[in-house]
Symmetry: C2
Subunit: 214 residues, 2 copies
Amino acid sequence: MSQVRVHNFSISLDGFGTGDGLTFEAPFGHAGERLHEWMFATRFWRSMVGESGGTSGVDHSFAERHGHGIGAEIMGRGKFGPAKRGPWGDDPWQGWWGDDPPFHKPVFVLTHHPREPLRLSDTTFTFVTDGIESALAQAREAAGDRDVFLGGGAAMINEYLSAGLVDELELHVIPILLGGGARLFEGVGPDVKLEQVRAVEAPGVTHLKYRVTK
Amino acid sequence: MSQVRVHNFSISLDGFGTGDGLTFEAPFGHAGERLHEWMFATRFWRSMVGESGGTSGVDHSFAERHGHGIGAEIMGRGKFGPAKRGPWGDDPWQGWWGDDPPFHKPVFVLTHHPREPLRLSDTTFTFVTDGIESALAQAREAAGDRDVFLGGGAAMINEYLSAGLVDELELHVIPILLGGGARLFEGVGPDVKLEQVRAVEAPGVTHLKYRVTK
């Protein structure tokens, strides 16, 4: 059966996946790009955004798992767009990524407000209003025998963890303290059992992989 | 100048240094001994508590740094005794460790309530009521050119971090989620700058070392 995977999810050493004060100009809030610099520098990332070059070491190896065996992504509304709540309106936000989003697969966006699907190049965004289990069922259907990627933010990962629906976590610990923001594992607790699979040191980041045991 | 070091400080993957509900019978609360099993299994620990055997690999190498170059320890009252607050009383708690505590060095206990020093074998516990800076000054004086060890719990480490008084952090991340307890880095925040020194994988634990940059 296909797996439900979190990866390329960076956290500060004090456990935050984004900072406070998310806005259009500062999509990661006061964290800035510090949590993601390790990934932006990789050959994987640069290729995904249409640039050449980039690093090809351990960071690249972890980052490029984004591309292997993933058949669909689920993301929170906060990842799809700036921190806006409420109905989508008549001229809704089209995502951060322009006319050719880097997903190249079906994406399911969790939201409380209905919206027609949005197709941009070979990425279709489907807006799911009836909860995380429905989104997962739709993503599994779309992914076939490939895996479902949980794209974040922290709140949606916490919901899926609490519901016992995650198989694998790849986290990337950055040596900064944010002191506030969206905290991974908030409200999750001891019912979720983990097995440490791997811990790999790289300059300025520690890559951690865990399997959720059932 | 001597360094102020945190090490052998285990945290759950969600950042807690102990669980909730600390009592005499459950000094680590609902975390049980799960955070410290890696250390209890080492040759270093077994030798410290007068037993033979134990592991001698990576875990031992990290754990035994407790013994090198440390001239004094500062600990919170919550580490010295069960979660009791208020005046010490007439027949005060003598610590968890019996007549021959494993410290073999001066120990300074942070408390709000005055108490005469307690000498047990070659360990003297001095009770400091005038704050963390005073405790550090006394510990530095006692340590000479050796380092000062911050023994925990999380709250006192957070206080020293916030005050800019820590040089080095060795943390040990255990693949459990506690969901509650004493959280390392609570209230510390972005003013404290860290440099990642090392990350080492061992079975069931990831050893992380950071230097606090000034």
